[in-house]
Amino acid sequence: MSRLASVRGQIERLGSGLSSQVWRVGFASRFLAYMLLHSGTALRRFHLTIAEIYFAGVLSLVIILVSGLFVGMVLGLQGYETLQRFGASESLGVLVALSLVRELGPVVAGLLFASRAGSAITAEIGLMKATEQLSAMEMMAVDPVARVVAPRFWGGVLSMPLLAALFSAMGVFGGYLVGVQLIGVDAGAFWSQMQAAVDLRNDILNGVYKSIVFGIAVTWIAVFEGYDAVPTAEGVSRATTRTVVTSSLAILALDFVLTALMFTGGNGQ
């Protein structure tokens, strides 16, 4: 009997855990809808959003550019290693560019953005809540979602595609440094094959769409976790961790879904 009770207890815990997660998703969706409805201030007083683009975007530039350079350099080395076995080392440019604009650019930039900017957004909003700054704003008849959350959301959403594009550009440059300058692949072949093979709509725009979706997902998770954080030091720390974990998983899962939709079946791929 006791075994039956313990199994029942486990099922109950699983059920309550699942239902609380579903509630949370619903709550986050209502929060997103409310924020979008109250985005007027962030868009009308655009300098508020520009300040957040600076914090989320400009201050993430160093990590994005350096990481992009190294990822591109590694792609150059690994790509050359494989391609030269088939006598196709001139296609190195194509391999580097396609890997970056289709996948690595949006995904790795998204992961870096989640850990650099997403965690900062959550911690900042969570601490503002813990120190009653958001309540103070409410008492001044200023909606904190419109004044604090929405500008951060739009700042993140606008920054992410730009960061992903810079990551890819830097990666291509890294691939060029290693492939052409270091190993000695022909520069003409490297660039011309890249130019011929990379398609604006199928490759570059699809990569941009991915980065937009990742930007929305990461920033939405970050602002929601911050706003929903338990207003204590421990609560803010947990919320920050949840932002990084949830948004990283969301990026990888969304990447699979988007890739399946974009690059398979009748897309000429």
Partner: protein, 276 residues
């Protein structure tokens, strides 16, 4: 039906009628509270931590709606207001939070200018003059360029006070304004509460457990325990109150109706002495 403004002015600025509140129905935090705060007064709501006074403050500011009864503030029933009406009411209120709640990413100047910029649509030169006026009133005009992290606790509280009176409120709420202040800062805050109340023609509500300190500044006191108002009157009446709980609290006696010992089993049994 809309009351005429003159009649409205003769009524109390805060009227709490038969208000009860509980986060869960089984555990009421406030029970049958009745109080009226007259215009121009400095009123204290006092009691032990956990007696429901902060919940009552949250009802007055419209952050919580009463489960039963009615809370009328500035002539409006707070429980029935939608977001826009609530915000319109809050523009006439100022609130000083326990630790100031200053915006840490802004300077002292920007903090005080914040409500003016958000609501006023005023030209920047006028905002500058108003901010200087408010900072002068709390004695911190010279600190306008500092950031909140560079301020002492008492200074931060004064800047927050300047910010809460930025829009010349009719009603100023104070949540534990004396906590953690040194004697000089305490004296400054006490003086400012009275001076600002009188010079702005405002009404002030102070929620605090620092009874001795607060009794020196308020005109009238509501004393709360376990979610009820158990005593009310002028500071002299409260000091002379025969109610044992009020007496213990006002005089800071370690034992009384609020026992020194938290409920526990027999001491001897815990030490495994008696009959063991």
């Amino acid at each position: 039906m809309q009351q005429s403004p003159v009649l409205e002015l003769q009524k109390p600025i805060v009227e709490i009628r038969n208000v009860s509140f509980g986060y869960e129905a089984a555990r009421p935090v406030l029970r049958d509270i009745d109080l009226a705060i007259e215009r121009g007064a400095v009123v204290g709501i006092m009691g032990q931590s956990g007696c429901g006074k902060t919940t009552l403050l949250r009802i007055i500011m419209g952050a919580l709606a009463p489960t039963r009864g009615e809370a009328r503030v500035l002539g409006r029933a707070t429980g029935e207001l939608d977001r826009d009406a609530l915000y319109a009411m809050r523009r006439k209120m100022g609130m000083l939070f326990q630790f100031g709640a200053l915006f840490t990413d802004m300077s002292v100047y920007e903090n005080v200018a914040f409500p003016m910029r958000e609501h006023g649509g005023l030209p920047e030169e006028l905002i500058h003059d108003l901010v200087m006026l408010k900072l002068q009133a709390v004695g911190l005009r010279g600190a306008a360029h500092l950031t909140p992290t560079e301020l002492s606790g008492g200074m931060a509280r004064r800047v927050a006070l300047a910010r809460s009176i930025a829009l010349d409120p009719q009603l100023i709420l104070y949540d534990e304004p004396f906590t953690g202040l040194d004697p000089i800062s305490f004296g400054v805050i006490v003086r400012l509460i009275r001076e600002l109340n009188d010079s702005l023609g405002a009404t002030s509500v102070i929620v605090t457990h620092d009874v001795q300190e607060a009794l020196g500044v308020v005109d009238y006191v509501y004393f709360m325990a376990a979610g009820r108002v158990i005593a009310k009157g002028t500071p002299e009446e409260i000091r002379a109150s025969p109610e044992p709980f009020v007496n213990q609290f006002v005089n800071g006696k370690p034992d009384g109706p609020v026992p020194f010992h938290y409920p526990a089993p027999e001491y001897g049994a815990d030490l495994e002495l008696a009959g063991a």
